[in-house]
């Protein structure tokens, strides 16, 4: 954990976070202001390094205009969307399926599974009509599953419920069970109606539960290869997972499965034979890791491949876990091989980026991870916040026992998982885990974003449009990071905006090569001359030229 350091205190000119917070709250009705006050926190460290508490994962105030999506988006869009060989049928009116069709840029390489299946370019929907709303949609769903099977012969079909499905009471799980029996392939459903929970986060949890219940652990095939890991919470936006796989291959680390960038359902089924789970996006996937640990004895560590130093650190953590001299040496060799290109790029770019200021409002992990890359460029993160994270993502998992479960979270099922009588196999003894912890490698630990941020920086959860405008007007950051909805609102102010969901159709930004891509991209953005074209010559120099006056 980063301890408070005087030289870490962030005080650029005109930056008064307390004043800003007050200004933000002043515009709201009193009740709203009270609520937002708990979600806008000025980062400060206590005597033993603990950070102040924040109240995320609560309902968005209606009317405030935020960034969040829904439970369906988190389940179908984020977690299951990147799996290429499941036919994902959206059960509902056409919109939800349409909007989640290819819009998240999850790249996939179907040539790596023998059957070459890839349904990610397709959109499947029951296109529910008023007739189904009135009389029920179960029959149409069963027929849709049959038609998907007849036309495509997939090895698995998943069904995703949208809002009206829950309201009219369609029992999608029974339909799935019946069709599974009838077709002889895996068919399973997710009750991820958009109104559940308070954000995408509920959908992540539901997706984790479903994939754990219906798929993980159904194929016990053991593989050759050493140092078997699963990569969790990496969605292969812009090819990130390909770069990470390249590094794993170079190190001799065997990736058994990925949840769920460039993934195949066959790999999920077999994931429990790995020896370590690596968590990239803690928010969206920690449930699967926890459940796999309980059921199969597979421990997890938090890693981060965003940032060259973070990548090196993560590789060392993996090597330390396996404790094999050969891997430790190989990892050092790979880092030594990869770093010169990274350093060369930093040396070239950093003089132009040093001291520039960034703001990041995105996701449940990226607002944290990308601060690494900005730090490598000598840039300061002035303010950051998540869209759908929980307290543990901000303050670290040590606050988990203190988190009060509210009504919205209680509605999301917690699975009762027990050690598997046959397959439970703790990979490390308690003594070994304690020894690793002593040496600095803590299992099941995530320290959160706030401990890594400077004292005095602003942490804003579920930021609203107006708060974002105030930040931009007052602090004029050199770059602002969020998603597509914020992209042009920010840029109209003449401030470059980097999308950290879609990467603005660039990437990869993970790993060593990705870091270099990011440095170059940020250099292009914060040093672009185009923002100087705002005034036409006659606006800059409005004096009349009299030389051509006519009679």
């Amino acid at each position: 954990m980063a301890l408070p350091e005087e030289n870490n205190k962030f005080e650029p000119d005109e930056y008064n976070p307390e004043e800003m917070k007050e200004e933000m709250l002043l515009q709201y009705p009193p009740k709203v202001a009270r609520k937002r006050a708990k979600q806008i926190v000025i980062n400060k460290f206590g005597s033993d390094g603990e950070v102040g508490d924040i109240s995320p994962n609560v309902r968005t105030v209606p009317g405030l205009i935020g960034q969040r999506g829904c439970c369906y988006a988190g389940c179908k869009g984020v977690v299951l969307g990147p799996t290429r060989d499941i036919i994902n049928i959206t059960h509902g009116p056409i919109g939800c399926g349409f909007y989640s069709w290819l819009t998240r840029r999850n790249q996939t390489d179907a040539s790596t599974t023998p059957d070459n299946h890839n349904f990610m370019t397709y959109c499947f929907s029951t296109d529910m009509q008023d007739e189904q709303i009135i009389f029920g949609g179960e029959k149409k769903l069963a027929l849709a599953i049959q038609e998907a099977y007849d036309n495509f012969h997939p090895k698995a079909i998943a069904v995703f419920s949208t809002c009206p499905v829950g309201l009219i009471g369609d029992d999608i799980h029974t339909v799935c069970r019946n069709m599974k029996e009838k077709l002889g392939i895996n068919v399973f459903g997710f009750s991820c109606e958009g109104y559940k929970g308070v954000s995408q986060s509920a959908g992540h949890h539901i997706a984790n539960n479903g994939i754990f219940t219906h798929v993980v652990g159904t194929d016990d095939t053991e593989h050759d290869g050493k140092y078997k890991i699963n990569l969790l919470g990496e969605y292969n936006i812009g090819g990130d997972a390909f770069e990470i796989e390249r590094i794993f291959n170079k190190c001799g680390i065997t990736q058994v499965s990925s949840f769920s960038g460039n993934s195949s359902i066959d790999k999920f089924a077999n994931a429990h034979v790995a020896d370590l789970n690596l968590i990239m996006c803690h928010r969206s996937i920690n449930y699967v890791a926890e459940m796999m640990e309980t059921k199969y004895g597979l421990p997890w560590i938090k890693i981060n491949f965003i940032g060259a130093n973070a990548t090196a650190k993560s590789l060392r953590k993996i090597a330390q876990y396996f404790g094999d001299e050969e891997l430790i040496a190989k990892v050092e060799e790979v880092i030594a091989e990869e770093m010169p290109a990274v350093k060369q790029s930093i040396e070239e770019v950093r003089p132009r980026t040093e001291g520039k200021r960034a703001m990041l409002f995105v996701g449940g992990s990226r607002a944290h991870h990308y601060q690494e890359l900005f730090a490598e460029l000598g840039m300061k993160t002035l303010s950051a916040g998540y869209e759908f994270a929980h307290r543990d993502d901000y303050e670290g998992r040590r606050v988990l026992p203190d988190i009060k479960v509210d009504a919205d979270s209680r509605n999301i099922e917690e699975l009762d998982v027990k050690p598997d009588p046959l397959k439970y196999n703790p990979r490390k003894s308690e003594a070994e885990i304690a020894k690793l912890a002593e040496a600095g490698l803590k299992m099941s630990e995530y320290e959160g974003m706030m401990p890594d941020m400077d004292s005095g920086s602003m942490v804003i959860d579920d930021i609203s449009q107006r708060e974002s405008e105030l930040l931009i007007e007052s602090f004029k950051p050199d770059i602002y990071c969020a998603g597509i909805k914020e992209k042009y609102t920010v840029q109209k102010n003449g401030i470059p905006m980097k999308q950290l969901h879609s990467y603005d159709y660039g990437g990869p930004y993970a790993g060593f090569k990705g870091a270099v891509n990011f440095y170059n991209e940020i250099d292009r953005m914060v040093n672009s001359k185009i923002w100087k074209y705002l005034k036409a010559p006659w606006q800059a120099h409005p004096e009349l030229a009299a030389a051509y006056a006519s009679d």
């Binding site: 009705p29 309902r59 509902g92 299946h117 769903l141 495509f152 958009g194």
Partner: protein, 459 residues
């Protein structure tokens, strides 16, 4: 191959929609509402709806798309969304202060049966709507119709809420532009202005969703029809509605409410549809068509005549919205191209399908039409017998690449190119742009496929 699981074996489907050629009502309502000046569209549903709609519209326009939501949770879904909407209205007027909030429903709020007029009324009696401000609404259940229906419903709501007859007719023509681009709306207004006709266009997204880079973000941009203008529509001499599916309902409602006679025309895409538009403007406003417009018409016809050999006999596949498909099909037939496959996801009805059959009656060979249909079936037709040109939204590019067919982007959404928001495809100039696009696609292909011996300098 991007769509490698698509085969030429067509099996009947009655439940599964694959690669839809439509999306849901609320996004159309949101788009229409953005065409009112100072309006904040509001989605009465869960957060996912407005997040998806804003994202899709933003990707299409590469412009800020602002909207709010009632942010339903499970509780609201059980007990009704009244509390959420009341709170939302209060917060919006306090924080963002728009002139009007335009609420549309979603499948969620429709299924639970929220009564919007009652909630809005309550907001008014509780003083949550400041003096001189408005909250309007329309019902847009996602399980009925399509995005076109949503656009139509919100446009009609503008009439229901605002249009009034003030006792005397103004020499103004109402223009309802249809679910078209801001550039198209601008072009329709330009043509009318060139004829010396005063118009009120509603909705009007020009200068809203094709705005300039100024260094200062405006939450409520300069464009859009004002409330004052919307009120005046009831006193205009007549209404021209472009595109029956997107604009017909509002035009008819205005006729019923304020006795403003309406003419419902095809979208002015292509020579003859533009002729009909100009001619109607001429008759309604009792003006002459200026030479400048005759000149533009002549230019468009000139391109058709000069390049006719390249259009002649070319087979075209069309995917899109009913108003667009119908106008495009007529246009293509008029220049001797052959629209052989046509699909819209919108349930536009038997009459629409019949109209398409009549338009293409002279096209040799079998013409395949599916209403409502999806892009998977469309692709299967192509697998069975290819076409020379594809016209549709960005999703069609997956088919175009797999089948190696020239492709023009037209319709909604276009996610991977710019231009549609700035350059129209309606009117004569828009027609010239469309002709240029068709020629570029066909001639680039001819250049690419020609042998070294056949490669032509002059075409």
């Amino acid at each position: 191959m991007l769509l490698k699981h698509t085969t030429d074996e067509i099996k009947e489907r009655n439940a599964l929609s694959v690669n839809p050629a439509k999306t849901c009502q609320p996004i159309g309502a949101m788009y229409a509402a953005l065409g009112i000046h100072g309006c904040l569209p509001h989605s009465h549903g869960s957060q996912g709806c407005y997040a998806y709609h804003r994202s899709a519209l933003t990707r299409h326009y590469k412009e800020p798309v602002i909207a709010a939501t009632s942010a339903f949770t499970e509780g609201a879904s059980v007990f009704g969304g009244q509390a959420n909407l009341l709170q939302s209205i209060d917060n919006i007027f306090t924080v963002y202060n728009p002139a009007v909030i335009a609420v549309h429903t979603t499948c969620l709020s429709e299924t639970i049966g929220d009564d919007l007029p009652q909630i809005i009324n309550k907001a008014r009696t509780e003083g949550k709507i400041p003096e001189g401000k408005y909250v309007i609404h329309t019902n847009t259940p996602s399980y009925v119709g399509s995005h076109v229906t949503g656009f139509s419903n919100m446009t009609r709501a503008m009439v229901d809420y605002f249009s009034e007859y003030n006792g005397s007719k103004n020499k103004i023509v109402n223009l309802i532009p249809g679910f078209v681009e801001p550039s198209d709306m601008e072009e329709m207004k330009r043509l009318a202005a060139a004829m010396g006709i005063k118009t009120i266009m509603f909705p009007d997204t020009s200068k809203v969703l094709n705005g300039p880079m100024t260094g200062k973000y405006k939450m409520f941009p300069d464009g859009g029809v004002t409330i004052e203008e919307l009120k005046m529509t009831g006193s205009s001499i007549g209404t021209i509605a472009l595109g029956p599916f997107a604009s017909g309902a509002a035009a008819k409602a205005l006729d019923v409410k304020c006795k403003v006679r309406c003419e419902i025309l095809d979208l002015p895409i292509g020579l003859h549809a533009t002729d009909a538009f100009i001619d109607q403007l001429r008759c309604m406003a009792n003006v002459n068509v200026p030479d400048s417009i005759n000149f533009e018409r002549g230019q468009m016809l000139d391109i058709i005549a000069d390049m006719h050999q390249y259009f002649y006999g070319k087979r075209v596949g069309l995917v899109g919205d009913p108003d667009q498909i119908l106008a495009l099909a007529k246009f293509l037939v008029s220049i001797d191209m052959q629209p052989v496959y046509m699909v819209t996801g919108t349930p536009a009805g038997k009459k629409f399908e019949q109209d398409l059959r009549e338009i293409t009656a002279e096209v040799p060979g079998e013409v395949k039409i599916k209403v409502p249909g999806d892009m998977f079936l469309f692709h299967q037709w192509i697998k069975n017998e290819p076409v020379d040109l594809l016209i549709g939204n960005t999703y069609v590019k997956y088919i175009a690449r797999d089948e190696d067919i020239p492709f023009i982007r037209h319709g909604f959404p276009i996610l991977d190119r710019v231009g549609h928001s700035y350059f129209p495809t309606v009117g004569y100039r828009g027609g010239m742009r469309l002709l240029e696009k068709i020629l570029n696609a066909l001639l680039d292909r001819k250049d690419r496929d020609a042998t070294d011996i056949e490669f032509e300098l002059v075409m």
